[in-house]
């Protein structure tokens, strides 16, 4: 009767390495949340290189008017795949990966609630991503933009099988993400260590938790839209074909009803990382713990009431536009409160600028800029001026890079010692930071101006109007700086994995539970844990120990 046991498999052995006897096989068949977390991170790094490579090609093509480095068709495939890859195969898996690794550790659990579901999520994500990218070799990648507006995405207008790969690939990764979301919620609710009430859960866990509800609510909408698109393309139905009774706007509604929550899905866990990093490097408690959690709930709720701000020019009518403008602008309030809370956390602390902290501070500034340009396009008349120009491209990248990617870098510099047992080289880290910061702002700040100068997005070339060439060139040069920075980052990872300084359990003197165990943790994270009584368990326990000694 041992055939089926529904218990949580409690790991017993040490973490395998590729060199150990069952190395690769064990990684592939693993259900350990730490191994899966690491795999998630590798997957996203791989796709980051793919997506970044596509971006570099685009910047090369746009560096000067009239260049013909890639064909128009290829260019369309490039930005579609760049956007899709970065959103679904880079930011999603990185954030989910970090959460898979650290959420159980931070709540004192040994595993996720459903380890096998966890493994399934990872492999679905990877498989969907490979499927999507396989389209390059199967007659042409999707070419209708990352939101694939119908009817351009229909068979009549996009002949290659790219969009079929797009639909299927995204459904597959989407199911993976739903699995991860389910797992996070259940784990957070049922597996916290004794004493860790919901008010004592680290903010990263809070935000992943809330985020998971967003995933559960948003992805079914995308899946529904995608299956309709797929059925349209494969079985000849008429959902999004206006000339035969369908509706082009319905797709837009479905996509953005998913798409807007999605961009917050990509932002909230990042906010969580920042809420862990800033206190540690300020040597202070987080300011306004409750507010930070509560504002996240607000943002999550509001995010379902703003989707039509992507459709302000679709002609939906003034009342509808007013409603969605109000929703969008309201999101500025809780987000603003968060920004102030992070700064207030730093106020009066002892700020230590490790690379991790540098990224966190840069995040605050650049994300504010991105958020403000978001409010700008939420003001309907301003959107009527700049939507689908490079201003929006600048907004996207200020919130995705200056927002989420900076938090991810921050998180990786912060947690790498825990994952690998070795520190990342700080000197290389500083190079990475400053080069990336420079390159990022150079590339994307000037795109605001290009937007003001009326340069539409998604064009493979542009007329030689005054200043277009020079601004685009600056932007492309900035991208090269980013490229160098990323190469340094990757070099740093590989070098530090081998020769980095040993980290010890708690190199940053942090206080959340993941720092209580060894670096890297054994397969079984914790043997026993004392009671958790505050937000800073490790410090409490140290104090107790000191008292006992004396």
């Amino acid at each position: 009767m041992k055939l089926f046991s529904f218990e949580v498999p409690e790991p017993t052995e040490a973490l395998p390495s590729i060199k150990s006897r069952y190395g690769i096989l064990q990684w592939i068949s693993s259900t350990d949340h730490k191994q899966l977390g690491i795999l998630y991170l590798w997957v996203s790094l791989f796709f980051f290189l793919v997506g970044g490579f596509e971006a570099m090609l685009m910047r090369l093509q746009l560096a000067w008017p009239g260049l013909q480095i890639v064909s128009p068709q290829t260019f369309n495939e490039l930005f579609t795949m760049h956007g899709t890859t970065m959103v679904f195969l880079v930011l999603m898996p990185t954030l989910i990966g970090l959460a898979t690794y650290f959420l159980p550790l931070m709540i004192g659990a040994n595993e996720m609630a459903f380890p096998r579901l966890n493994a399934m999520s990872l492999w679905m994500t990877l498989f969907g991503g490979l499927l999507l990218n396989f389209s390059f070799f199967a007659g042409g990648a999707p070419d209708a933009g990352w939101f694939s507006y119908a009817p351009l995405s229909e068979k009549n207008y996009s002949f290659s099988s790219g969009l079929d790969y797009y639909s299927i690939g995204l459904i597959v990764t989407g199911i993976g993400s739903i699995g991860a979301g389910l797992n996070f919620v259940v784990t957070t609710l049922t597996m916290r260590i004794k004493g860790m009430r919901l008010r004592k859960v680290p903010l990263f866990v809070w935000m992943v938790f809330i985020n998971s509800f967003l995933i559960l609510a948003a992805f079914p909408l995308l899946n529904a839209g995608l299956v309709m698109l797929l059925i349209d393309r494969q079985l000849g139905s008429h959902f999004f074909l206006p000339n035969t009774g369908g509706s082009a706007l319905l797709w837009q509604h479905f996509f953005w009803a998913f798409g807007h929550p999605e961009v917050y899905i990509l932002a909230l866990p990042g906010f969580g990382i920042i809420s862990e990093v800033i206190p540690v490097f300020s040597r202070k408690n987080i300011f306004g713990y409750t507010t930070l959690a509560a504002t996240t709930v607000f943002i999550a709720l509001l995010s379902f009431g703003v989707w039509a701000h992507h459709m302000f020019v679709a002609g939906l009518g003034n009342p509808i536009n007013t409603f969605f403008a109000a929703g969008s602008m309201l999101i500025g309030i809780p987000t603003g409160i968060k920004i102030v809370n992070w700064m207030a956390t730093m106020w009066g602390g002892n700020l230590y600028f490790s690379t991790s902290m540098l990224f966190a501070v840069a995040f605050i500034l650049d994300f504010t800029l991105g958020g403000l340009s978001g409010i700008a396009v939420a003001i309907v008349p301003l959107d009527w001026r700049v939507t689908d120009t490079y201003f929006v491209v600048a907004h996207i990248h200020y919130v995705f890079l200056g927002g989420t990617l900076f938090t991810i870098f921050s998180g990786i510099y912060y947690w790498f010692p825990k994952i690998s047992g070795r520190m990342l080289n700080e000197r290389l880290g500083k190079w990475h930071f400053w080069l990336f910061l420079l390159g990022f702002n150079m590339t994307f700040f000037f795109q605001h101006i290009l937007g003001f100068m009326g340069m539409p997005r998604r064009v493979f070339s542009y007329p030689d109007l005054p200043y277009y060439a020079i601004l685009n060139l600056i932007s492309s040069i900035g991208a090269v700086f980013m490229l160098i920075a990323v190469i340094i980052f990757i070099y740093n990872i590989f070098k530090s994995l081998r020769t980095g300084e040993l980290a010890g359990n708690n190199p940053w003197n942090a206080w959340t539970l993941e720092w209580y165990t060894t670096s890297p943790p054994q397969l079984k994270n914790f043997e026993t844990l004392p009671d958790v009584t505050s937000l800073r368990p490790i410090i409490d326990w140290e104090k107790q120990k000191a008292i006992q000694k004396s």
């Binding site: 529904f6 218990e7 739903i178 049922t190 079914p220 349209d232 008429h238 009774g245 509706s247």
Partner: protein
């Protein structure tokens, strides 16, 4: 063991909530097109309400039989468990069979998925429901086989049955809505 039970409950609740939204989206599409299409009325006439109502009763009653199965499981009645499981599967399969005949009928009257927007919306919505029923049948069959093999000890609080049962009820409830919206509303 209790925690697994709790976890499965939670998992199923969340999963069902999430999956409902998928159907909500398909239903919204259906209603949207019903309100904005002019060829719609004519097409709904092809639907066979009576027959589908009868087959629906099979599906609805399977919700009852699976509750019996649960009772049997809790009270350690192996025979009752097996027979009620088989009955559930049969009832579900009958419903699927009903759907197939409905589809064939429509096909003969040239109402197909690529015929017009009604066909697209109708077949997608009911098709995905049918697909979910089909998955449920597979799940129940696996459970039946494992029970026959005595892999589950009786009174096993294992959460597997819970998951299957809830999923089955979910599929039923979805059909209540779909049946009402697709078949009954045109009659009102």
């Amino acid at each position: 063991m209790k925690i697994v039970f709790r976890q499965t409950k939670l998992l199923m609740q969340l999963f069902i909530a999430s999956e409902s939204l998928f159907f909500v989206a398909l239903i919204i599409a259906y209603i949207y097109f019903r309100n904005f299409s002019d060829t719609w009325e004519a097409s709904t006439n092809y639907l066979n309400v009576k027959r589908t109502a009868i087959f629906s009763i099979f599906l609805f009653s399977s919700s009852g039989t699976i509750t019996v199965a649960k009772y049997a499981l809790e009270n350690n009645k192996r025979k009752l468990l097996i027979s009620s499981l088989i009955l559930t599967i049969l009832l579900g399969a009958t419903f699927v069979f009903g759907q197939v005949t409905e589809y064939m009928d429509l096909y003969q009257q040239e109402v197909t998925i690529d015929q017009n927007i009604f066909g697209s919306a109708f077949f997608t919505l009911t098709g995905f429901h049918g697909f979910h029923v089909f998955l449920g049948l597979i799940i129940l069959t696996i459970y039946l086989i494992l029970t026959l093999l005595d892999v589950f000890r009786m009174r096993d609080p294992s959460s597997a049955f819970l998951a299957a049962e809830w999923y089955w009820h979910f599929v039923d409830v979805v059909w209540v809505f779909v049946f009402f919206i697709v078949y009954l509303m045109p009659l009102l």
